[in-house]
Subunit: 200 residues, 2 copies
């Protein structure tokens, strides 16, 4: 131990649970908080403890929530005819922040991956099927990641939608905005070419 | 708020007290901890709360410590004839980790900066003078930063040492290891040239 305080050394070690934080950054964070921002550090400790204790998953959409039903699901002003299915809560946040989407969500908390023990049951597909059977959803927007597992998941979701007679759609794939054709990977470019859309 | 959980939004906001953590990183950290590392997050919350509450300053060297006297000062195997004076606890850690130094430390918790209200009293120079007057210290190593304020602080420290009849030394300035002369700033290069040492 190279600090004069074992509690400080403990804190530095604990900070390394944060993603992307190594030994040096953890040191800098610990010293910064103790030297300059104890109120901020105290607030962080409290909120972290509360969040870990209280935040669970919404009964209806499986997103993060400290209530039985999250604030998205409880919001009556959101469009109840649209349901966007995502893999993780962070994808849900990304869509909420980037798009003007005002419908509801369903969070799979994973993707189809039998080797990792993630099957239809773990992804809550029975809950999703029940949701579709309620008859209110008119369009299910599949927003899984464009990976092999994400595609397999999307395929299964489309079957689920067909069984419930609900229209299913998928995020468009293609050249990202600001990207240059020269540097786009072949698969994406081929996909964008095949899926070209008419101008006007 | 773009998450389904107000507590999660609170946590994301609180994480921004960490140095170098902006909105995106705070989100990533919060989601990572809640999705994948709740034990780590709980431990972090506990240790942070304890550290903020308990870690104060060592009565003897002013470094961080949860005891009256820090583990450096309490360590009888360290050389009691050497005292290294640094500006901040993080400088103390840097020296401890990089060098084989096994003497004692004194932490100024700042540098001479009258405009910021930091004078001899705030830097604990009375405590340092009393320490030198004890008569055990044979060499005081001044390790303040090579900035204008750090140099002014070093100058005052050298006067303090002279008054107590203690030998004072200063970290060597010069070309950093691995640096290339071409890219070194003029001041440093001039200093390194003037302070050249004989080979063997």
């Amino acid at each position: 131990m190279s600090t004069g305080s074992p509690l400080l050394a403990d804190l530095i070690e604990a900070l390394r649970c944060l993603p992307g934080v190594g030994a040096k950054t953890a040191q800098r964070m610990a010293f910064h908080m103790l030297e300059r921002d104890r109120p901020g550090a105290r607030r962080l400790a409290e909120r972290l403890a509360v969040a870990v204790e209280k935040v669970g998953n919404c009964r209806r959409c499986r997103g993060f929530s400290e209530q039985e039903v999250c604030s998205f699901c409880a919001n009556a002003s959101r469009d109840k005819h649209l349901l966007c299915v995502v893999e993780t809560p962070v994808d849900q946040l990304a869509i909420e922040q980037a798009t003007g989407y005002r419908g509801h969500y369903f969070v799979l908390l994973g993707r189809l991956s039998p080797l990792d023990g993630l099957g239809p049951k773990e992804l809550g597909l029975d809950l999703l099927a029940a949701r579709l059977a309620e008859g209110e959803i008119e369009e299910m927007i599949v927003a899984t990641n464009p990976t092999v597992e994400g595609e397999a998941t999307a395929h299964m979701l489309s079957q689920l939608a067909r069984a419930a007679d609900v229209r299913a759609s998928r995020l468009a794939h293609g050249v990202p905005l600001g990207g240059e054709l020269e540097f786009i990977d072949r698969g994406t470019l081929a996909h964008a070419f095949g899926g070209r859309q008419s101008l006007l």
